[in-house]
Each structure stands twice: as structure tokens, then as C-alpha cells.
Symmetry: C2
Subunit: 372 residues, 2 copies
């Protein structure tokens, strides 16, 4: 591979000075057509591409932003990857099994797509990193490395410990996604969805339209802020309808399909199913549906099931699952949009945005619906 040409090479080839080359690139109209042609020709000939590093150094901005995502579980079992070509397609029988999903992937993929989208619109490059480092030190190295290469950073909640975030924030525009360190949440730029309002609207619908009063909550992990917000919404919805949240049973499904399935099975066995089982995410709702359909319990006839998130699997169940859809792609776009604002106005007060969610009423609470 040939040595990379620089402005000097182009200048020499075109018989002009490097300043003129630079100008021809940045303010074409400020250079005489003839010389411009010559320069363009030289550029083509040499296959010249400006060095991003040098440009960034001189301009003191990189025109890129970074996105930092947390660990993804599948990455835990990361082995050395070997480039080998096997000359045969494998043929295997693939027996049915409880689907083991990658619940988080959908979220991250969508978020990423939103960021890409908006970054592109804003003319920015997007650098992606996953917090794969086990230790704080590793993550710290990663995020430091990245922060040297970008003009601003979007950080998914819980992907970076606050201890490493805090010093960064002094010199780098930072936008948090989903939530910010609780201590001084209001100091951060933040984008999130209104988990609370979505859940309360759903609960109000259940009570008012379907007249259920025995409602149970299938909860996520205690350390999940999303779960907390959703539970708050659950309680709020009940209170709005004059019901007592304290009276509603809570089951700890840990955002897990399998656990939710097990719990639901035992509820069936003890004949202690509520009129409606409100799950803190779709995975658990899917698990509950599995248990109910195996036991032949009619949904929504005997029990109403609802989820939260709006993953595509909720459309494939029978009946389809009522859920609350988060605008995750828009969340990504909002993050970039906020970051851009911040970069151009470093002194302004923090921007906190809450995106609205959509309650999707489907057969698991409505019963048969006319198709389109």
C-alpha cells in the first residue's frame, strides 16, 4: 500500500502552495477556477483524502460524537475468534425450546439506530463503544480513550460508573440516556421516556374500561430505575381510580421470561390469579402468557395480561399482547439532538427531555379486535 498523500503532495503535484490546496477544499470560490481544476486533478490522481486527525487537531473539533453502551450479556462468553472456513453446511434438527432472548439487544439496537440517524442528519460521525471491561479501570480506560476522540458523549444509564463520569463532565458535553446518577440528576442533560405516565395510563384503562379491581404487578429487579418508575405509575393509576396500591400483590419476576412463567404457573396452581396481571416488561408478560396458554387459562377471559416496551414478539402471541411502546429510536435521536444543542451552548442550563410512550391496546386485554 502506497504512502498516504498529504496536502504537500497535492500542492506539489498541482504546482501551488498547501494553503491554496486547503482553500480549494474548504472555500472553493475563493480560488481561481483554473488553479482549482489543477488541484482537483491532483487530488484525484493521488487519491488524496484529508487526515481527520490533523483536521481535528487544527480545528479543535472532531465532528464526531460517541455513544457508550453497557455490557451486553452475550458478550460474557467471549472467546477468541478464529478465521476458519469450513467447507460444509451443517444440517441439524432444531427442537422447540423456550426461547432464550436477548432482551436488551432490541433496545440498544434501536437506540443506536436513532443515534446514527440523527448524527447523520447533523453531519456528525458516530463512534460506538460497549462497556465490556469487567473492572472500573477497564471501563474508565475505554471511555477515556473514546472521549479523546469525540466532541461529545452519549452515555446509556449504568454503562459507566459515576466516579469516571464526573471528571469527564468537566470538559466534555455529556448526555445521559434513561437516567442520570441519582445524586445530582438535575445537573445532567438527560433524555428518557415517561415510564410512569405510560404505566398509569395503562392501569387507568384497565380499571375504567374493563372494570377490573384485582390487579397484580409483576416487578423487575429492584436496582432497575425503569422498574421503579413503572411501579410508581402502577400505583398512581390505581390511586387515580380510587383503588389502594398497597392492596395489589407484587411478584418479583426480575424482568425474566422464565421466572415470570414459573411464578404464573404457581399462581394458576394455587388458583390465585388476579383479574389483571400487569408486567413491568414484555419478557415477563410473554412468560406469563406461556404458562397460561399451557394451562388453558383464557386470556383475557379469565385474566388480562399486559407488558411494557413494545418488542416485536408481543405481536406474535395469541392473543397479541397489550403493551406500552417506548419510542426508542426517537430516544436516540433526542439524545444526539440534545448533545448538539449542548455542544453549541456549553453554558446553558441542563436539558431534560421526557418522551411520551404509547399504550397499545391489543387482544390480551381487549379481546377480539377487528383486523385491518
Amino acid at each position: 500500500m502506497e504512502k498516504k498523500p498529504t496536502v504537500y503532495d497535492v500542492a506539489h503535484e498541482a504546482g501551488v502552495s498547501i494553503a491554496t490546496v486547503s482553500r480549494a477544499l474548504r472555500t472553493p470560490h475563493s480560488v481561481r477556477p483554473n488553479t482549482r481544476k489543477a488541484i482537483e486533478l491532483a487530488i484525484k490522481r493521488l487519491g488524496y483524502v484529508p487526515s481527520g486527525s490533523a483536521q481535528s487537531l487544527a480545528a479543535r473539533r472532531t465532528n464526531s460524537i460517541g455513544l457508550f453502551l453497557p455490557n451486553i450479556d452475550e458478550l460474557d462468553s467471549l472467546s477468541d475468534f478464529q478465521l476458519t472456513t469450513i467447507d460444509q453446511a451443517e444440517v441439524v434438527v432444531d427442537p422447540p425450546r423456550t426461547p432464550s432472548m436477548r432482551p436488551d439487544s432490541f433496545y440498544f439496537d434501536s437506540l443506536l439506530r436513532g443515534c446514527e440517524l440523527e448524527a447523520w442528519r447533523q453531519g456528525l460521525s458516530l463512534m460506538v463503544n460497549i462497556g465490556l471491561g469487567r473492572t472500573d479501570t477497564d471501563v474508565s480506560r475505554l471511555v477515556n480513550d473514546m472521549s479523546g476522540k469525540v466532541d461529545g458523549l452519549i452515555v446509556m444509564a449504568r454503562s459507566v460508573p459515576e466516579r469516571v463520569l464526573e471528571p469527564l463532565r468537566r470538559h466534555l458535553p455529556l448526555v445521559m440516556v434513561a437516567n442520570a446518577p441519582s445524586d445530582h440528576e438535575e445537573e445532567f442533560d438527560l433524555v428518557r421516556v415517561s415510564n410512569r405516565k405510560g404505566m398509569s395510563a395503562l392501569v387507568r384503562h384497565l380499571v375504567k374500561a374493563h372494570h377490573v379491581s384485582q390487579i397484580a404487578y409483576m416487578a423487575g429487579p429492584d436496582d432497575s430505575p425503569d422498574n421503579h418508575k413503572r411501579y410508581e405509575g402502577f400505583c398512581e393509576g390505581l390511586r387515580d381510580c380510587g383503588l389502594n396500591p398497597e392492596a395489589a400483590p407484587i411478584y418479583r419476576g426480575q424482568f425474566s421470561q422464565v421466572i415470570a412463567c414459573t411464578i404464573t404457573k404457581s399462581l394458576i396452581a394455587q388458583d390465585s390469579l388476579p383479574e389483571a396481571l400487569v408486567c413491568a416488561n414484555d419478557q415477563m408478560a410473554l412468560g406469563a402468557m406461556t404458562a397460561l396458554s399451557r394451562a388453558g387459562v383464557p386470556v383475557p377471559g379469565r385474566v388480562i395480561i399486559t407488558g411494557f416496551d413494545g418488542i416485536s414478539e408481543t405481536e406474535a402471541t395469541e392473543p397479541r399482547l397489550t403493551t406500552v411502546r417506548q419510542p426508542i429510536v426517537d430516544l436516540g435521536r433526542a439524545a444526539v439532538s440534545t448533545l448538539v444543542k449542548r455542544m453549541s451552548a456549553p453554558g446553558d442550563p441542563p436539558i431534560s427531555t421526557e418522551l411520551p410512550v404509547t399504550v397499545l391496546l391489543r387482544e390480551s386485554c381487549e379481546g377480539p379486535l377487528a383486523g385491518v
Copy 2:
């Protein structure tokens, strides 16, 4: 926001020279413990992070690689994004409808994840870009911009016109994914999956294990290399079993679920269903399944349906869909792995890797299977 501290600030704060600061960072053992401590302290105090641009410029390498993905259809309708907070969760009835999927997203998301994974393992940053530009000029600007910021580029097939790829290749390590410009394919580094072998293995299984002889092919778009490779495999499989590929009907499903559904419906109406309908991708197989299940045609009793790709929806149908799974995440890892090799050995001959696929036999051809 405070001015970003530089080595000079750190040096001054610690009472040493910038050279020593640099050394303390890169070869800690070559500096006396005391001075090192002082420097580390100064770094913490100031919140210093090295400038990636300057590092890259001096080191003549960026330690990042780029991934270039093609247009994603959903992006066509890209509007200005407004940061607005609506203070209400929307509640809507969501009627059942033919699912409109994002067929490509799954592929790109998985590929991206594979790249992230391997890039992380190799200590590289990953820069992602989508070829959203309408015109060649736009794409060209995008890819040029990106190529100035990275040490190497991974390019998804058909995301960048060859005309802009060719000059880039002179100075930048480049790995193609899925396929390379046909003219001089063998000059490119390339990673792909063995579409042909997967399809032929599937067809051989259908003929030998299920004794079908009337097989039809539901084809993708003519301009899709994947479709061609799969059709080659289809023919090869038939020939291997002594059947004549010329005799097999071809239906043009265009990789579209809706079109495949329509076609299948008319096949049912004309009573011209084959014994097995081999689809060039999962979307079309899903469309066919929809038509068949609506018409009450038993699968695989009356007709066997197979797909290709291994998307998750194929596990949700009843019966589940026999398909060929591509190792897309591994494809991404292989791409990065190849790129790294190339970067460290620019002169070596092109590396072409073909990853094996897996034929997943499920109920849509096998009939009832024992679960696990």
C-alpha cells in the same frame, strides 16, 4: 465548560516537562515513582484526557476502524426531529395487521454487534456510518470523511459504489462484507457466508429425507447476489439428487412477505402448489405460511415450506419454519479480524473467507418434533 487541559497544563501543574508527562503515560516504569505520582495527581486534578486527534496525528494511526452500512429503508422518510415533551401518554387501539418488518435491520444490527465485539477485543474504536446520502456525491463525501478518521474500513456490499471505493483502496485497508464488486472480486478482502452450500444442503435433505420431487423456488430480486447464490445452491442440490433444476418453477417474491403471500394465495387458488416451496429468504417463507394457514392448507402435510436467514420470527410460526441460519455476528467478527490482519500486513494477498451456515430442520418440513 472549562478549557481542556493539555500536556502543557499537566506538566506545569506537576512541575515537569511535557516529555515526562508523555512518558509517565506511555512508559510509566521509565519515570521515577515520585515524579510519576506528582503527574498522576496533576492529571486527576485537572481532569486531563489526551487528545485523540493529536495522538493519532503523531502516531500516524487512529486506532479506530470504520463500518459502512447501506441505506436503511426506514430512513427514507426522515423528517426533522423536534425535541418536544408531551405531557401525556397516548392510548391507542392497535389492530392486528400484516406485520411490516424491517427485514434488513436484523442483519445490520447483528453485523454491527459482531464488529463491536471484535473491535473491542482488538482494542479498536468502531465508527459507524450509514450510506444515507441519496447521490453518489453524498455517499462519497460520507465515506471520504470517514476514511480520514480511521485506519481501515469495513464496507457492506452495495453500500458504496465501486467508483468511490476504488481510489480509497489505494491507501486504506478495506474489507468487503457479503460480496465485492464483481469485476475484480478476487482483489478484495472479503467475508461472506456460504449461501450456495446452505441452500444445496437443504434441498438435498428435502429430496432424500422427505422424498419430494416437485420443488419450487421463491426467488428474491434479480439484482441480489445473495438470491443468485441461493438459487445456484438450489439447482446444485437438485442436480445432486438427479433432478432437473430447469423443471422447477420459479416465483418472483422479491424478498417481500406481502408479495410471497399473494403469490402463494394464487398457487392455492389454482391448485398448483408444489410438494415443497423453497424460499430465498425468511420473509417470503413467512408470507407463504400466512397464506397457507389462512387457507387451511396443512404444513408440512400438503406442502413443505422453507426459509433462509434464521430470523427470530421463524420460531414463532406454527409450525416453526425450517430455515438456514447465517452466522451474522460471526460475519462481523470475521470482517474485523480480517481487517486487522490486512492492516498489519498490507502487502499480503487478498483474504477471502466463507463462513458456514447451519440448516435448521424444524416442523415446517419435519412435522412434529420432540421439544426440549
